[in-house]
């Protein structure tokens, strides 16, 4: 009798264990769409490195309920290539979960292809507002939408810089310069609208062609206006050209607030040297006040920074940290709860997430809209708790200066010393 019991227990164990172990070995495939070639390649590859670290770290911790994460790459070098690659990953590789895309035009394309082909898209950094406003069900934008970049910059200027410049906020001359592509225009539109709600009129508001090779007319126009503060949205190449031209023509401002990609690139310092010190950047926080993070996340953050610097010999730019943050949240807060890994299930899990600020490595929380947002009922998948702060370049590295809850240091060097004093 006991032998029979033992045998049936053994048999039952085998029957029950085999499909589970079989599934436990089957990896979870995630499609990663990033610009690996072309003009966006630099930041695309940085994002990729961050994502790879996340995958390695989660797999070392046993994966998702025993299943390892495996990435399948798609080279999304242009929006149309992005669509083709996304469709290839979904239709030919059987991927049901996609992520990416660093840049807004790519993100717009990838999320559309994912929605159309029935995949769940977890957008890490793409910021254009339109990403979540098309009535898509399966697109989730974890990073901040474009307007938050602008709001962070404007709020910082009004609440912090104004005091240091000894001018009432309403009297500040604020100039806005935006690069003429999806991100720049989107953020520029947001800043303009937000400034209007605050009753401010921008002293200067111009877009420029991102492939420009001569910044003389722009800097000259700005000199004519003589703003107290300049908020500039640029990508790395044009940011460098602008700074050099500003130095050449001796264009000075009280405070310079760059927005994202161009000004947050860690190697901006390599390109313009010490001129970088004092520049403010509205972007994903590259590092946050550790006290804001929950203890387990703090450990994860430390490990990420260590690994990234070991591999790339420089600290991660804000967008790379944001990419890591977002994909880590997917790995730890969404996927472990999944059983079928079908888009509908993942969507339900994502919509139920209610993580306070400080839950993600870059200080953000997660709470997605679901066609229930007062400002736009067609909006779904926007993360209302994505945080954009302002940090400042320092002699040694960088310090978060705004908002006060995330800050690691006070803003300094306001007004910024003139060029001949730097």
């Amino acid at each position: 009798m006991r032998r029979l019991l033992r045998l049936s227990a053994l048999f039952a164990g085998l029957v029950l264990a085999s499909p589970i172990t079989a599934r436990a070995q089957e990896p979870i495939k995630i499609g990663v769409l990033l610009p690996f070639t072309g003009p966006l390649a630099k930041n695309g590859i940085e994002n990729w490195e961050a994502m790879q670290i996340a995958r390695d770290m989660i797999n070392e911790r046993g994966g998702i309920n025993g299943r390892k994460i495996v990435y399948v790459q798609g080279d999304a070098t242009t929006p149309n290539a992005a669509i083709s690659e996304t469709e290839r990953l979904i239709n030919r590789e059987g991927i049901k979960i996609t992520t990416g895309s660093f840049a807004s035009p790519i993100a717009i394309a990838v999320s559309q292809a994912a929605e159309r082909n029935g995949a769940f898209h977890w957008e890490t950094t793409g910021a254009a507002e339109i990403i979540t406003r098309r009535g898509f069900k399966n697109t989730f934008q974890v990073g901040a939408p474009a307007r938050k970049y602008g709001q962070a910059a404007v709020d910082f200027v009004l609440n912090d810089v104004a005091k240091r410049l000894n001018k009432p906020a309403g009297n500040l001359k604020i100039a806005l310069l935006w690069e003429n592509r999806a991100f720049g225009k989107s953020v520029g539109d947001g800043i303009r609208a937000y400034a209007q709600t605050k009753g401010l009129k921008l002293a200067f508001d111009d877009g420029y062609d991102q492939t420009a090779t001569d910044m003389t007319p722009i800097v000259q126009k700005l000199k004519d206006v003589g703003p107290d503060v300049l908020i500039a949205i640029s990508f790395p190449n044009d940011a460098i050209l602008f700074q050099r031209k500003a130095k050449e023509l001796d264009f000075n401002v009280g405070a310079f607030v760059g927005v994202s990609a161009g000004y947050s690139a860690a190697d901006l310092r390599d390109s313009i040297g010490d001129s970088v010190v004092g520049i403010f950047v509205a972007d994903f926080p590259p590092k946050v006040n550790a006290n804001v993070l929950k203890p387990e996340i703090r450990k994860v953050a430390d490990e990420f920074y260590k690994r990234y610097e070991a591999k790339l010999k420089r600290p991660p730019a804000g967008h790379a940290a944001a990419g890591f943050s977002a994909i880590w949240a997917l790995f730890t807060d969404v996927l472990p709860k999944a059983k079928t890994f079908q888009p509908e299930e993942l969507r339900d899990i994502a919509l139920k997430l209610d993580l306070p600020e400080g839950s993600l490595v870059n200080g953000s929380g997660i709470k997605f809209t679901n066609f229930d947002w007062a400002e736009d009922p067609k909006d779904a998948g926007q993360n209302l708790r994505a945080s954009i702060g302002v940090w400042q370049w320092t002699k040694q590295g960088n310090e978060q200066v705004y908002p006060p809850s995330l800050a690691t240091h006070e803003a300094v060097m306001v007004p910024m010393p003139k060029w001949n004093a730097r």
């Binding site: 070639t37 072309g38 003009p39 390649a41 630099k42 695309g44 590859i45 003429n180 111009d206 877009g207 420029y208 062609d209 492939t211 420009a212 090779t213 001569d214 003389t216 007319p217 722009i218 000259q220 126009k221 004519d224 790395p236 190449n237 460098i240 050209l241 050099r244 130095k247 050449e248 023509l249 001796d250 690139a265 190697d267 390599d270 390109s271 313009i272 040297g273 001949n420």
Partner: protein, 294 residues
């Protein structure tokens, strides 16, 4: 008024740099009558070379020209022998697409070798010069001077040496030149290599001004083409004049109209010149209406 002068001066200075980068192309155009679509990538390769020498040896990029110019001469010669010459006796489009394929190859080989990171050199001169209220960036002024010297030097070679005469003859009429005993194939080779060497010189001048990355050529190649055709195929003074036009138009239109339009105005100028002076500003009569030599 000071503003206008500043814009004008900056436009001329940057225009001279554009011209320097285009002189090689106009020579190649004039002599071989081909469009080298890899021109931007030649510039990119030379810029990486200039950056590397500056970065590794601590020289300044102008000194690096001693190495870069001959290196680009050899590179150009190699490209000519391997890719351009086999394509010359085939339908014209073959050269166009072969150079385009070369362009894609060079961009992505550079991406694989150097990654997409931007490369820069530390500033050479701490401050710009000032002439009254006008600022002059020293590196730009140097570029201007080098361009002028180069132009004068090339003009001397073209007008006073046998090689120059051979080149002029080939520009005017390749077949007649051959009949006169000029070794036209060798002229082709020398011109293509020399054109590439000039790109190398331009790269050394440009490295202090612009960051280097694999697709940097894309920002400049259209400008170079416009300058070459605007100035007149094969005309060195035309390239200089074309460069000035482009630089000044960019500068003035960016200020007085809107910077968002970028290259619109000089493209429109280009098209207007093509309608009314199809040979370019200083080109030879009938150049535009002569077909391709196939």
């Amino acid at each position: 008024m000071a503003t206008f002068l500043q814009l004008l001066l900056s436009g001329i200075l940057i225009g001279s740099v554009y011209a320097l980068m285009s002189i090689g192309l106009t020579l190649i155009f004039g002599v071989l009558r081909i469009v080298n679509f890899a021109h931007g990538e030649f510039l990119m390769i030379a810029m990486y070379g200039a950056w590397a020498i500056t970065h590794l040896l601590g020289l300044n990029p102008y000194a690096a020209a001693i190495a870069i110019v001959p290196a680009m001469f050899l590179f150009g010669g190699l490209v000519y022998l391997l890719i351009v010459r086999p394509a010359l006796d085939k339908p014209h489009l073959v050269v166009v697409f072969a150079t385009m394929a070369l362009s894609i190859f060079l961009q992505n080989a550079a991406l694989m070798a150097m990654t997409a990171d931007l490369r820069d050199i530390p500033p050479i001169f701490a401050h710009s010069l000032t002439i009254g209220p006008i600022y002059v960036k020293v590196e730009l002024l140097l570029g201007f001077i080098i361009t002028l010297i180069c132009t004068v030097g090339l003009q001397w070679i073209i007008k006073r040496t046998y090689l120059g005469k051979a080149i002029r003859a080939t520009v005017q009429d390749g077949e007649a030149a051959m009949l006169m005993g000029i070794p036209v194939p060798r002229i082709f080779l020398i011109t293509f290599a020399a054109g590439s060497a000039l790109v190398g010189l331009a790269a050394c001048v440009m490295v202090p001004l612009f960051s280097v990355f694999p697709s940097v050529g894309l920002n400049f190649v259209l400008i170079a083409f416009v300058i070459v055709v605007l100035g007149g195929m094969g005309s060195i003074e035309g390239a200089l004049l074309g460069g000035f036009c482009v630089g000044v138009i960019q500068s003035l239109s960016g200020y007085y109209v809107a910077p968002a339009f970028g290259q619109l105005f000089f493209f429109v100028l280009f098209l207007l010149v093509m309608i009314f002076r199809p040979n370019g500003l200083l080109g030879q009569q009938g150049a535009a209406t002569v077909g391709m030599n196939d």
